[in-house]
Every structure is written in C-alpha cells, then in structure tokens.
Amino acid sequence: MPNPYLEFAKQLGLIVAIAVAVLLFVMVAVLYIILKLRWVIARIQSRLGPNRTGPWGVAQTVADALKLFQKEDIIPCGADRWLFTLAPAMVFIPAYLVYVVIPFGDGMTAKSLNIGAIYISAISSIGVIGIIVAGWASNNKWSLLGAFRGASQLIAYEVPIILALSVPILVTGTLDLDKIVQAQAGGFWHWNLFNIHHWPMLPIAFLVMLIAGLAEINVTPFDIMEAESELVAGFNTEYSGMKFALFFLAEFAAGFTLAAIIVTLFLGGYQPPLHVLGGQVTAKLFGVVPLFSLISLGWFIAKCWVVVLGIMWIRSTLPRVRMDQLMNLSWKALIPAGLVNLLLTGAYVAFWMPK
C-alpha cells in the first residue's frame, strides 16, 4: 500500500514544479514581449528602438527590471497601506492563474478543467478588482478616475467577450479547452477561425473576441484607464519600484494570456497548420516520443507570437478612443453583433448542425 504522505508530497512537488515552470515561462515571455514591443513601435515610427544595452539592446528590459528593483518603494502618506501593498498582487495573480487551463501542448495542460472557458472568463475579470483597489488605496484623484474607468470598461467588454467565447463552445459542444483544441485537429481549415465551410459566423466571433480582448487588456486603442495624456498614469500613478514592475508585468502577462486564449479557441491551439508538420509524423520518422509534445508546444508558442505581434501592430497604429466612443463601441456594435451571432449559432447547432 502506498504511503499517503509520500503521495501527497509527490503531488505537492508536481504542482509547485508546474507553477514555477509556468511562472518562469510567463516572466521570460513578458521580458521579451516588452522588448519586442519597443522594437516594433520604433520601427513603425522609423526609429531604431533600444540598441544600447547588450548586443542589439536585448538586455534592455532586464536592465529596466533591475532599475525598478533598486528604486525606493514609496507609499504615499494618505494611502491605505494594506490595500496599496496588496493591489499589485491582486492584479498579477489572475493574469497568472488563467494559465492553469491553457493547453500549452499535447498533454501539457496544468489542470484540464471541464469548465475551462467559464474559468477563464471568471478569472480574467477578477484582475479589475486589483485595479480598483490600487486606484482607491492610492488616495489620488487620477488613480481613482483611472480605476473607475477601468471598472466601467470591464463591465462593458466582459459581455461581448463571453458572447464571442460561446460561439466556438457551441460549435464544438464542450467547455473543456483541451477538447476544443482536439476538435480543431487536421489542418488549418479545421481551426475555428477558418472553419467557415462548417459555420460561416465563426470569423465574426473572432473579430468581436479580438476587439473586446484588446479592451480587456487595456492596450492603446482602449487604454483610457491609464491614458497618459489625461490621467497622469491612471491607476498606477502613485506606484514605484517593485510594485510598479508587478503592474507592468501583469499588463503584459494579460496580453500574452489574451493571445493564448484566442489561439486556443480560434486558431487551433497546439494543432499544426498541416498534419505533416505536426509532432505525430515527426515522432514516427525519428522515433522520439517526447519530441511530439515539444513540437506541439512550439506550434502553440508560434501562433501566440503571431497574435502578440498583431496586437502590437494594432496598438502602435490606432489612436486612443474617447470614453463615450469606447462605451458606444461595446454597447452599440459589439454586443448586438455578439448577440445576433450567438442566436444564429444556437439555432444552427440546435436544428441544422450535422451530428
């Protein structure tokens, strides 16, 4: 009979190992995404971007992080000390928790929940509580305004996200992200975005998801929450040092999370665009079994990278929308589109879909 304590210790060790691995992955990804973002925006504006620190400037974000480590950690005297200290963690942890259900590769999900999609939409909307807490605890008008804007933005954009999220869920018939990815196997024309011969409304759901997701992670066309020219820096005006670094990390981690969710739901997750390029064929050719999941992980990261680059492209192109325009876009365009889409998809799934 196995020792229950040993089993428990093994389980705990496994959980901690996975958590640390995902955290390291997120950290490295964010460090490189920030660097790449600065390069991309620089190239789009005919500049060079960071090129001083290390060869071609690759150590720039590491240097920035080290600088933030050294900085004095200031808490304003009118601030609520406890909430002020707690807020960065409350923003970062939800962005990190979403990775529990993301299938990184074949059999590389930390914990495959059967309500994965609901879990994602629930967890990713907790982050705004941290933002409101940060804005409230700072005892600063700009921070509070930024936090209020963040709250109204989240309420407006959580609805279209869930409406868009429901469409691939209805078509695949499961909430489990692992199964959604498995349903998209067999070439890029089976991915939910390109699966128009199956159901032509899927690209509209993708578009609604992309726009609402951009608003959810507060990148430039929708960054009224931290609008530099209106509110000094929004909810994180009073933050400095490591707490500010944590906000920054959370922002970009949420960006990568959005890319991962979009890839999982619409772009086939870890499935290769053609069956030949997948791990199964290669593993048969070379006879190496672990290579299989590594190749699927590679496909997942490559797709995420494409989506992240697309988000960078959009954020370096479009100007910031006004508060009323932001609300109009959600309530007058995205939500009607999402509702009609969901109704039609529901009718299709109920009456016409080939079983």
Partner: protein, 165 residues
Amino acid sequence: MKVKSTYFKDFINSFVSIAKGLWVTMTNWSIARPSVTELYPEEMPKLPENYRGVPTLPVNAATGRSGCIGCGACVRMCPEGIIKVEVDKTDPKDRKPAEFSIDISRCMWCGLCMEVCPTNCLKPGRDFELACYNREDMLYGLERLQQMGGELQVEEEEIAEPQDS
C-alpha cells in the same frame, strides 16, 4: 420624417479606415524603410551642405596663411565684442594679423563677421564637436582657427582675388 441611419455605413467606413491605417504602419514596419535615428558617437551625422558653424580662417595653400589683412572690420562688427585682432605692421605692404582670437564660448554664430570681411577670409567651419574641459580652451587663437578652416577652396579664392588688388 424618416432619418436615414448611418449605422452600417459607419461600421464599414470604420473598418476601411482602420485597414488603411494598418497598411501605413505595415509598410513602415516591414519594407526596409530607413530609420531616421542618427547613431551619433558611432556614425557622424550628415551635415547639410550649407551648414554654418564656428567662424574659421581657411589657409591659402599657395601663401601658407589666410587672406586676413587685419583691417578690424570684424572686430567692430561683432555684436558680442569677442574678436581680438593685433596687426603685424612690420611690412606696410603686407598687413597680416599677428594675433587673431575669438572667444567661442560667447559666440552666437550670427555670421556678421563673415559677412563684413572685405577679403572673405572668415569662413563658416563645419566642425561642431566644440566641447572642452575648461574655459581657456574656448578662446580660439590664430592657429586653431586656421587649423579648423583647412585649405581655402579654389572658387572662394577667385571671389577673393579682385578685392585683394
């Protein structure tokens, strides 16, 4: 009265205009459009042809000195009063400056000294790295001004000649 709705028209227009904007940034990003950043310490910036810098005294290669006759027009003209000229009067047929100095720390690059010069021997230099460690180094003497001026260009000589005679 029927109000014509622009809802769907606005929808399409917004997509078209966003696509146009994305195309502009895409061409900037992907096609090899040169960056406007100057990597100054590594690469010298390309100065425009008509760059006018510090006043200098170019040397005529034939005679080995500048065309300055020590008339003092620049001294009188200088709004800051920073040009000092002492004339070497040993040979009355051949006036030349024994001492010529410009306190470059107070020079404002107005160019009046170069305009008023009767022999056109004061020329704008192309040197712009004028930083130094102490104030005394900013008092440019005759040697420094001639060294910065380099050799007199041929066409400038032709302009200068009729005024000499």
